[in-house]
Symmetry: C2
DNA sequence: CGCTAGTCGAGAAAGCTTCTCATTTACTTA
DNA sequence: TAAGTAAATGAGAAGCTTTCTCGACTAGCG
């Protein structure tokens, strides 16, 4: 079924694409690390002994984004995070110490944003809301190594 | 009074710093263009015949940010925008075509964010909310050249 | 099985930002 | 006011993320 997603996007089903999609699905190793930088994906591939160029990772992630399979987020600090698109919009709560990301959705905020765009005569194409703070672990002085 | 701000930050009052602060205050030329990239500041200085290195612009803006005189925003696209800090928090409505920026503040959204951070056990250190859309001019097919 | 367009990997290159370091400047002390 | 000192500057090199180039390779089709 992941194959069909790639095909629907008008892309050929190749090994690098399958591997990258799989890493985005599983987060590489443990749980929850589903917000990955391009270099994270590349490093995970290397760890597994897979030979995929960094340029290919960027290229494929960009293609996936264009195809709507993946969404790209610009948190603070110059590099983008990629996340598998699951059809449900959400915003992010980001720990400024360990980088942990929690997703949330608040309909009251969504509604206010629509109203604000309208008030100023803007169309609403997209939005990014990132709340930055310290997660419970990092407040306790025990940053978990992600 | 701008001098005193610089001094309070523990920085020496130098010509480059005064000039950069002045550009941030006036926006360089016309009205409203108060969200400038480092390179914009640099270019405006050049236009005025001032000799200030790009490295100095970056250095000074970073120092001003640390001192709370300036805030840095990462809208889409790899480069940061700097804005004079006027003590009042606000979020941004950004035109994805002409780059025009409108500031807004919505207390309902602010309140919901505090609640969301608390629900997840996060401290709330900061947040960035950028609404992306088309401004009235660009919807009309007449992008104003900023 | 062979063709062809699409894809890949590696390294070069681009764009933004930071670093290095010799020179210059602001502020302090006499 | 002159001199000394620590900080700041400017120019270019370097760093980082991301994109581009291009010859080699491969998926998908006939």
């Amino acid at each position: 079924m992941t194959e069909s997603q790639i095909k629907q996007a008008g892309l050929k089903v190749t090994l690098p694409r399958m591997k990258i999609l799989e890493i985005l699905e599983t987060g590489g190793e443990g749980e929850g690390a589903r917000h990955l930088r391009a270099e994270d994906v590349y490093r995970i591939l290397l760890t597994r002994g897979e030979v995929v160029g960094l340029a290919t990772v960027y290229r494929v992630l960009t293609q996936f984004e264009a195809a709507g399979l993946v969404s790209r987020h610009n948190f603070e600090g110059g590099h983008a995070f990629f996340e598998l698109e699951r059809g449900t919009h959400h915003d992010h709560l980001v720990c400024i110490k360990c980088g942990r990301v929690v997703e949330f959705l608040d309909e009251a905020i969504e509604e206010r944003q629509r109203a604000i765009a309208a008030e100023h005569g803007f169309t609403l194409e997209d939005h990014t809301l990132n709340i930055l703070g310290l997660c419970p672990n990092c407040q306790a002085g025990q940053p978990r190594p992600s």
